[in-house]
Symmetry: C2
Subunit: 242 residues, 2 copies
Amino acid sequence: MKPDTPHNETDAAGNGFIPNLAVDVVVFGFHDTELKVLLMQYSKTGLYALPGGFVRLNENLDDAAKRVAGERTGLRDISPEQFRVFGDMARHDPTPFISFMAADGGKPDPNHWLFQRFISVGYLALVDFTKVTPTPDKIFDSCNWYNLTDIPPLIQDHSAIVAAGLQWLQVILDSKLAGFNLLPAEFTMAELQSLYETVLGKKLLRPAFQRKMLGMGILERIAKKYSGGAHKAPYLYRFVSK
Amino acid sequence: MKPDTPHNETDAAGNGFIPNLAVDVVVFGFHDTELKVLLMQYSKTGLYALPGGFVRLNENLDDAAKRVAGERTGLRDISPEQFRVFGDMARHDPTPFISFMAADGGKPDPNHWLFQRFISVGYLALVDFTKVTPTPDKIFDSCNWYNLTDIPPLIQDHSAIVAAGLQWLQVILDSKLAGFNLLPAEFTMAELQSLYETVLGKKLLRPAFQRKMLGMGILERIAKKYSGGAHKAPYLYRFVSK
DNA sequence: TTATTATTGTAACATATTGATACAATAATA
DNA sequence: TATTATTGTATCAATATGTTACAATAATAA
């Protein structure tokens, strides 16, 4: 038993956590012109879910999201941002947790705290795909990237949370320079444009895109990249905050 | 005792409500070229606060905010929208509630549920100032409009919640036609512009503003208004959704 | 070594949007 | 009937965005 994790993290009472409150994190990555989402799976039942967790009694809400996202990705320097709270009664559905426990052989305690109604704060984490080590948790024994265009059915309202997370990303993409969190430290203009096109779901004109990005004054040109292709090699860029 | 209100709404255990979770509503109105906020006061201590409340065990989160805003304004047809969750430990400060109870003569139970740490969902309600009947609640015995430019110190982090609500309003003002909820059914272009200027905190050029508003195709021109001034009378407009 | 190819970087122009000025129209008052 | 203040909008200027075009060039092939 790890000393920094309460031994009652999944006990029937939920001691140590704020009741009825959860955080679910939509972790987006970008790879091969595809947006990827980090999903958990409980192999015995095959059910998929978002990385999620609960808020400790003396823990900042944002820190809970950071902890959850950090544990699933191995990343320490991320700051997930809340984008919406999901608080309808309609989202209450304990059957996935009942089936988890049934699959483990035990007889589920009908008063288990996980079966209660939960209000969940949705967080968005934008990460460098290449830096992530997907890591399972105590409930879900697998954790992996999935193409956003091809996600399996998720438990409860998690599909709606993913959809809302994408919508939010589209909104903040321009204003918050969110895109740069999804790319490695150095990238080509073509990669940046591909990211924008994937997130926004539409083609952009190359000259206008390049003009706009360079006009923001937040890109530093580094060196030539040898593309390997039979054509002019693109510059590499680095993001620099003003 | 009203049958539709749990008798334990403010008892020491907080039964019937989700623990550690609150909703606070920033109710904005617009009157005399000023943005107004609805604030509660507990007269014996003089402390001010946002209209707020708790979430019933079987209540949708949004419905809790609607209930709270409805009870304080007398309006039934409003849909407050969440704009941010406030979940830092730093916001935890039970002293206002302790002083309320002390002022009432009773000896505060140190384990009273109100003294616990709360995570609060901030909601924004945009209302027609002229339609509101400010109504106190069980904790605060007064409820009134205050000029946003001149709000008294508020308990806990409620000032920050108001500030965040205003910022959010500035963001959604254009995209969500939020302004129209703040005006009466019929209004002049000058009134609409004044609202925009007040919310955004800057002057706008009249011809460009008018062109933009008319260009959106959501305004219906009604009839002449007799302004009473020694000048050309303005049109009246009505908002029509497409 | 020299074409060929595919892609990059950007100039150049067209179009659309927004900023700013100007002015006729007009409702109340003098 | 002249005066005044404000409204509605035309007009032009400035800026931003959409689009086409083309020279530059890195790898490959002739």
